[in-house]
Amino acid sequence: MTTKLLEINNLKQYFPIKGGIFGRTVNHVKAVDDVSFYVNEGETLSIVGESGCGKSTTGRAVLRLDDPTSGEITFQGDDLLALNKQQMRRKRKDLQIIFQDPYASINPRQTVRQILEEAMSIQKVLPKAERMDKIMELLDTVGLGSHQLDRFPHEFSGGQRQRIGIARALAVDPKFIVCDESVSALDVSIQAQVLNLLKQLQRDLNLTYLFIAHDLGVVRHISDRVAVMYLGKIVEIGEKKEIFDNPKHPYTKSLLSAIPVPDPSNQQERIHLKGDVPSPIDPPTGCRFHTRCPFATEKCKNEVPELRVTKDMTGTHQAACHHIEEIESGAKQPNY
């Protein structure tokens, strides 16, 4: 029986743009615009998309690192947005985050021991006397040696720093972790080490991940379900297998086809996308993808498509496109 650990409804995150003569808010960056999804206990939901699609903003809003403009965030039945500052601080014990940049994400002036000790003392995990044992255990868990306890971040490589960041998140025994591009700054060989570690931790500690990434290879490897975002909206969501093997949204398809395959004898047909991603300040009307979509029609320009199920989708698969059926049947041809 799967239970929903986290549920997001109609999340919006608008950042004001100041301007004009009096420096008033003249416009908004609609970074996340009406997004709903849930994460089941023990699973990994990935959010993928290109830069500026709002995936990181979503992750930060879930943790209330930036307070969202509107929406509902329910974690284990509690409405996170209704908590006051104090209550939220306590709640943070359950929700943690692992960042992208192994250099900027740990305080250069603290040793590993201080970093982990501080995490525990903020959330009052364990009595003081027992914390040392836990620190040693954490180091072992993430694959660092106990002899590295009193070292400073600059004495570690990027991959090892990322392990410190993981240990810090684990120090408070969280249930849920947002991994915000947690492996994208690492070299391939190190990235594989960290990915394996994250998978193993999930099994051992029954963790739930919201995994934010732009690399579809990484996403395929780590996820149970995947949500694809484009310009602040989820365009497609579903089980990993469905998204990768049975994508329905033209954006998902073109994204998958754009990635170079590391196999010279198996190069695939590419769907070409015109131009750049439009600005989230003034996003296109109707379907936000219509300006670049090879299948766009008048309807796409005017009506916002909702996430929906079509007949050959399985599981929880949904996509937000008006023309899924016509494209599938070949009735609609791409218009380059």
Partner: protein
Amino acid sequence: MSQNENVLEISDLRTSFFIEGDEIKAVDGVTINVPKGKTVGVVGESGSGKSITSLSIMRLIQHPGEIVEGSISMNGEDLLSKSERQMQQLRGNQISMIFQEPMTSLNPVYTVGEQISEVYRIHQGLSKKEALTKSVEMLELVGIPSPKERIKQYPHELSGGMRQRVMIAIALACNPELLIADEPTTALDVTIQAQILELIKKLQSQLGMSVFLITHDLGVVAETCDYVAVMYAGKIVEYADVHSLFRSPKHPYTVGLMQSLPRHDIDQEELNVIEGNVPKPGNMPDGCRFAPRCPFASDICEKRLPDLDELENGNKVRCWIYSDEWDGKAEVNVVDDYKTAGNQ
């Protein structure tokens, strides 16, 4: 490939940085050729020395770096013995380069037009007006819509993808024989990356130039290169045509790299990893530089550095396993045994 005419021949290149009296060998004895009209990729992780190799070709290594030894020749002419002035005449003319960061690689205080025109004015002595006309043509060629308006814009008014197109326009303005592309798409999103790679391929066949592509992305290599050199810790460990490399990689590092790559097109249970970290430049192992991380490493690997030996098919590999002196387990299949060897 030996019968091919080479545009560029690098042999035994060593480029070092001198920091507080220590010599840090960023590129340590690299030999590689770029055949005419072909694309040669150099793939490696950060710190492998691939970018320094490309800057060495351009002779753009800045203090405290220095090309210590080796030779780089283009069409038979030795680049290292040329004067700075002669190099200036070559750069942007016969050899061009594009860089990783399109956001910072253009001068913020000059318009796009001024920056492209400059190349024509230096190398072809065109007037301001003629150069500008040519620049518009060039922008059109690299697929920038309404080039006449774009030419008056400043870099900050363009997106990352557009800027990289402008960089390509600058690089290809004088129809160079060799284009050096240093991680040209790393900073871009995949859909934009696809556009840029497509563009480079298209222009390469149109203009008949050779491309020297630096990247860390095996996918990009597979898609664009004819030949590939794999670099590790300042040295080339494997050199092969792209099909052989991906079908039957020879060096354990190449294998490890491929097996640790999460793929979007196939399912993988568990990723194979390369244990440990890249050695620090000041603290290189005596023997094979990959030996401390190699699952097959044997005594000889730790003691002596293997040569980059040519195999029967003309490809090259720097590994004791393929030599007569190999003292480890007989009959090693690096691809299939990589994982089991690693778990021992």
